[in-house]
Amino acid sequence: MQGFRFISDVFRSACINWGYQEVRTPVLEYLHLFTATGTLTPAMLGRVYSFLDWDGWSGERVVLRPDGTIPVVRLYIDNMRGQGIAKLYYVTQVFAFEGTGREDRERWQCGVELLGDARTASDVEVISLAMDVWNGLGLENVELRLSHTGVIRAIVGQLGLEKEEEARLLVRLLEGDRSALADVKARDAASERLLALLSGSGRKSGFLANLKTAMPSANTELKASLDDFARLCRLLDTVGISYVIDLSTAPGFEYYTGVCFQFWLGGRKVGGGGRYDRLVPLMGGGDVPACGFAIYMDPLIDLIEPKARKRSDQGVLIRGSEATDQAVRTCFDLARSLHNAGCVAEVDFSGRQETGLRWTIAVPAAGTPLLITDRIQQKQKAVKSVAEAVNIVGVAA
């Protein structure tokens, strides 16, 4: 839990610093919120925990929240639509069945949604927020991988495939199925080059400019997506955030429309997000652009430094040798006063020797005198009253 709290504390501070507001959505939602076209893929829907509620005689199914973004967007549509730009964050768990037994079926996420602003600067903002979180967690090697669903769609559209095959390929690519490319037969040399692009990766924005010139037959859709992608890369260069362009990076959700990105550390994906301007309109909320990301807490807990997780060693152990009425009263008085002074103070009658805490206050059966030991300064002092003890310990702590 310490790792969890550390991550969520750093995340919340970063969000508050950027002016974001915390929201919470229910664990139990109606399934139809997620089945509408363009929200969750059939593969994901095949793994949700859905069931008939106690009032499910109408055939309406409920589901344990399988995704964090869609409920937040619903919350925005129901409560915040007229208010302009909304900057929201949440710490929440999502549920998905997973058959190997190696992953959790209940996964915690720290998520951010920025609704109402289509400017590329917003994409940079959410990415910067994420970088603040990595810095706060002491993680220096997090890799940002960028892709663009518009570019992927446009490239697939130019492969000259049958409509059905095209749709299937797109779904597989967007779900992250990299083997999907191997199954496609290129129609001609140009298509072969396009296919190669989908599986390759480059480094900086120059790569995109090279791409654009290498494809004179690119249609307007592809050109527009490439320009959009290049604009983000330029801005990231400007603010000094490094990244890798990898077109095979997939968002995993069909509602992404523009740039999408993933965070990788130690060979594991620790976060992902992007722009999804189509989601709010699909959910009936009107033409509202949106972008955001989520950080996956479970893999992160294993990856953060152990020292970040250690207990505070500044606290006090109030040790009573015998639980007489006087001793009990003194111990609890001490505890209350120290707590009021903002100290961690633990009461113990079991006589345990290992404390890991800086201070020990030994309370005898009679309740007084109190022997204070400072393990760090290697000093000891006897005092007569609770007030004196609190003065010594509270001040130094």
């Binding site: 089945t35 059939p42 095949g46 008939l52 009032d55 005689w57 109408s58 055939g59």
Partner: protein
């Protein structure tokens, strides 16, 4: 080695196949009243007969090593539980059919939430999700799916021989989900660890004379895609199966004239002067009435109780107890166990003798409630679609079943340890008010006719 064999439409061809394979099971024939069989050529092999829909479940949980059933039921189970411990060993080539998604011929596609009715609810839901239907509700039914559209459903997922057969029922196929035929399945653990080859090799090289079904001669029914029902008529659901005969007699006694609901015909859309009716399965009626697809239905108190056990806030209620079709809903166990009461059963469980307690029932919700009310735990509840008394003692320990005379239970050497309640035929309606004053008046009038019929 244990085999699960189908009853119903696959029985005759399966018996023929087994005979041709040299795996003859005496008495496994259409006239049989038995459920358990032994193989005459291989005495170590036994078989039990089940409803087709039960077979994939029984094989997957390991009660049976091999099973023969339609591939449609296997896919129905796998659609919801893809990790089921099942292996599809071979297609057997007979009993061919297709699973179709169909709608009423000529009906327009629904604009918002579409209602899908099916005996294959898992296949239906998979279809809805893959087709990106924005809003959909799947209603599982025990049968008669084809009669629901267009008034009570927008789509049905059903088995059919082909598009001609569907057309003869007034339905048009929207999609073909899969081709089904009889298939041989095995339990995955048995397949992976035991040597089943001496039985399996019998299925190779069988030359089955498969009679190809001739194209149906019935012409396509010319239907109107729109609702045939009148807004102000009473929408009535009538039972098929063994409840039909006493219901026909009762309606006659009440003076309720319905054209098409009699013992001679199989018609599914009877109607009267101000009544529009459909003949459907009694199990499905409570949910259909709750959803407003029907105003009034004649079903049994057992199915009403089962529905309310699952959905306590449902608006369905009993309007009239009709008194006929009296059965008791009982808990039964094998007479070979030292159990004569629920207290005895609890003692046996506490001793660790039945752990987990395996329970089977068609009344899944009544059984579930009974088990937790009586603190019978740990237990495993397996739903079944018929012939539940055959499950004991090999495949289940406790049965929740209806019994009229008790003879069927006696024949299977089962003893009643508890009586849950008594069930009779009844009329059910919804607490939600009807859409029009005329309809409300007519519903009242029909109920009055029923009441007077009871007094006669």
């Amino acid at each position: 080695m244990r085999l699960a064999l189908p009853k119903g439409r696959l029985l005759a061809p399966t018996a023929a196949l087994l005979k041709a394979a040299g795996l003859d099971f005496a008495d496994y024939s259409e006239a049989t009243r038995l459920y358990n069989f032994t193989c005459t050529s291989f005495p170590g092999i036994t078989a039990k007969m089940f409803q087709e829909k039960d077979i994939p479940v029984q094989v997957a949980v390991g009660n049976y090593d091999l099973g023969i059933c339609g591939r449609d039921w296997v896919e129905e189970l796998l659609a919801r539980y893809p990790a089921s411990r099942l292996v599809k060993v071979a297609e057997l080539g007979y009993g061919r059919a297709g699973i179709f998604v169909a709608s009423r011929s000529g009906a327009t596609a629904p604009r918002s939430t579409c209602r899908i009715v099916s005996e294959y609810p898992n296949l239906a839901e998979t279809y809805a999700i893959n087709s990106r239907l924005r809003g959909f509700k799947v209603f599982p039914v025990w049968g008669a799916a084809e009669v629901y559209p267009p008034e009570s459903a927008d789509y049905v997922v059903l088995r059919g021989d082909g598009e001609d057969e569907l057309a003869a029922k007034g339905l048009t196929a929207v999609a073909r989900l899969l081709d089904s035929s009889a298939c041989l399945i095995a339990n995955a653990d048995a397949w992976e660890t035991r040597d089943l080859s001496r039985v399996l090799e019998r299925f190779n090289n069988i030359r089955m004379v498969v009679e190809e079904k001739s194209a149906t001669n019935a012409p396509a029914v010319s239907v109107n895609g729109k609702s045939q029902w009148r807004d102000d008529a009473v929408w009535l659901a009538l039972p098929d199966g063994h409840q039909k005969e006493p219901t026909v007699a009762f309606l006659d006694r009440c003076g309720v004239r319905l054209k098409g609901y009699d013992l001679k015909s199989d018609a599914r859309r009877p109607s009267g002067e101000w009544i529009d009716a459909k003949v459907i399965r009694p199990q499905d009626m409570p949910q259909q009435v709750a959803n407003g697809n029907f105003d009034i239905a004649i079903t049994g108190r057992d199915w009403l109780t089962d529905h309310l056990a699952r959905f306590p806030s449902s608006p369905v209620e009993m309007r009239l107890d009709l008194g006929f079709g009296r059965v008791r809903i009982v808990a039964a166990m094998s007479q070979d166990l030292p159990v004569r009461s629920v207290a005895d059963l609890k003692k046996l469980i506490a001793e660790g003798r039945l752990s987990p307690l395996r329970v089977c029932s068609e009344y899944v919700n009544i059984a579930d409630k009974y088990l937790w009310e009586n603190r019978l735990s740990p237990c495993r509840l397996i739903p079944t679609w018929g012939a539940s008394e055959a499950f004991l003692p090999d495949d289940a320990d406790l049965l929740i079943e209806n019994t009229q005379t008790g003879k069927t239970l006696e024949r299977q050497r089962l003893g009643i340890i508890d009586v849950l309640f008594e069930s009779t035929a009844c009329v059910i309606g919804s607490k939600n008010s009807p859409q029009s004053a005329i309809k409300a008046e007519r519903i009242g009038k029909l109920l009055e006719m029923f009441r007077r019929g009871l007094e006669r």
